[in-house]
């Protein structure tokens, strides 16, 4: 890194400019799996934010000591540590949610976003900034998941957070069952990525464009 990065830039890049889901197309597996209910998605998003932020912090704290040849082993270990911690806490204190999410919390370990941030950012930046980068990368991911979940739960079940929504839960609305099934996630995500990229591109064109 040539110059110290500014915290504000890091946040903006993490959430919008380089958003893990719609810019980098990372972590799609869980984006598809847990987004048919908004509440499940919120908890899943929180788990990812918790892990990206703290693993970023830890990897960054260790970065001067970690031998380069084993750095990826260390990163995976640190990530797995935080994920297991979160999974266990859910099992102990929120068993119903833990049952809902099933194996997906554990699978956060393999979520490429987290490894990606550890490799691309935390390895080369100070702890505080790595924490911020991790937290907002997680948030950027969680927000997209939330958009997908809102669309899927509303169209597929007529509810939001389990609360029936007028019109969508009435007989006038024929529930789109496909939205709560896995294909619904593909359709929704594709539309969101398309919209977000269109907006990004039109902004670049009006501001003269930097690409």
């Amino acid at each position: 890194m040539i110059a110290q990065k500014k915290t504000g830039d890091v946040i903006l890049t993490a959430v919008w400019g380089d958003n893990p889901v719609f810019r980098q197309i990372l972590g799609i597996c869980s984006a598809l799996a847990v987004t048919n209910l908004v509440l499940n998605t919120i908890v899943m998003g929180t788990a990812v934010m918790f892990t990206t932020a703290l693993s970023g912090l830890t990897v960054s704290l260790l970065r001067k000591w970690t031998p380069r040849i084993i750095r990826m082993m260390v990163e995976v270990l640190v990530i797995a540590f935080y994920v297991i911690l979160f999974d266990r806490a859910l099992k102990a204190y929120w068993p119903d949610m833990s049952r809902n999410l099933g194996p997906y919390v554990g699978l956060i370990i393999t979520n490429c976003i987290i490894m990606g941030r550890a490799e691309a950012f935390a390895n080369a930046n100070p702890p505080g900034l790595s924490f911020v980068d991790g937290f907002f990368s997680g948030l950027g991911y969680a927000l997209i998941l939330l958009c997908v979940a809102v669309i899927r739960e509303l169209l597929g079940m007529g509810t939001l957070l389990g609360i029936p929504i007028p019109f969508f839960s009435s007989a006038l609305w024929d529930r789109w069952i496909i939205m709560v099934m896995p294909p619904g996630a593909f359709f929704t995500l594709a539309v969101i990525v398309w919209l977000a990229r269109t907006v990004q591109r039109s902004k670049q064109v009006t501001s003269g464009g930097n690409k």
Binding site: N36, L77, A89, E153, M157, V180
Partner: protein, 206 residues
């Protein structure tokens, strides 16, 4: 030559980090072990009392569930053929038969309640399942479960039939879940298999 350039340094380093992080996880794991075990037990006890004709308040605390369970539910005996017994004022009021089998994504575990006559179903409840939320997951919802209440286990053939949502029902049948054919079929298969075995054993005793 600094310590970090030694060939053995990465091995020791990895060892120390692993040791530290695992130690924390093991500590946290054992600190919450009892709690996790209790949670699983309570989920099971809740399913049992939900399947029985017991008036339950809408919100039940963990200790209430356990209290209701230990005052009403008794272990299985030879005569109950593998079902838990619901006893009120020293009389047998019903049975709670634990059932389990494969679902669409993961095993489904539940309890089916049957009145003392060995025929009338008093309720069904599930304490472990991972079916698609909104589809197969609907087996845990009231709309699906309350259909079973009052149904009769038919004395020959399939104990309880699962019919399509458009078909008329009789006293031995319930509606399957529309859009969740796989979950419905699998649930119907193991529920009926296990209920049929129980039906044979209990009629042999009576």
């Amino acid at each position: 030559m600094s310590i970090r350039d030694r060939a053995w340094f990465p091995i020791i380093y990895m060892f120390v980090i692993t040791l530290l992080l695992s130690a924390v996880l093991i500590l946290f794991g054992s600190a919450t072990r009892q709690r996790v075990k209790n949670n699983e037990r309570i989920a099971y006890e809740r399913a049992v009392i939900q399947s029985l004709p017991i008036d339950l308040p809408a919100r039940l605390s963990t200790s209430q569930i356990h209290q209701i369970y230990i005052t009403n539910v008794y272990d299985t005996t030879e005569a109950s053929a593998g079902a838990l017994r619901y006893i009120k004022h020293d009389t047998l009021v019903g049975y709670a038969l634990p059932i389990q089998g494969p679902g669409f994504w993961a095993p489904i575990k539940g309890v089916i309640g049957i009145a003392a006559d060995g025929k009338t179903i008093t309720g069904v409840s599930f304490y472990e399942q991972n079916e698609t939320p909104g589809l197969g997951g609907e087996i845990t919802k009231m709309e699906f479960r309350e259909q079973f209440v009052g149904k009769q286990i038919s004395q020959s053939g399939m104990p309880v039939q699962f019919r399509a949502a458009t078909d008329p029902l009789d006293e031995n049948s319930v509606h399957a879940i529309t859009g969740a054919t796989q979950t419905s079929n699998r649930l119907s298969r193991f529920l009926n298999e296990q209920l049929a075995i129980w039906r044979e054993r209990i009629t042999a005793r009576q």
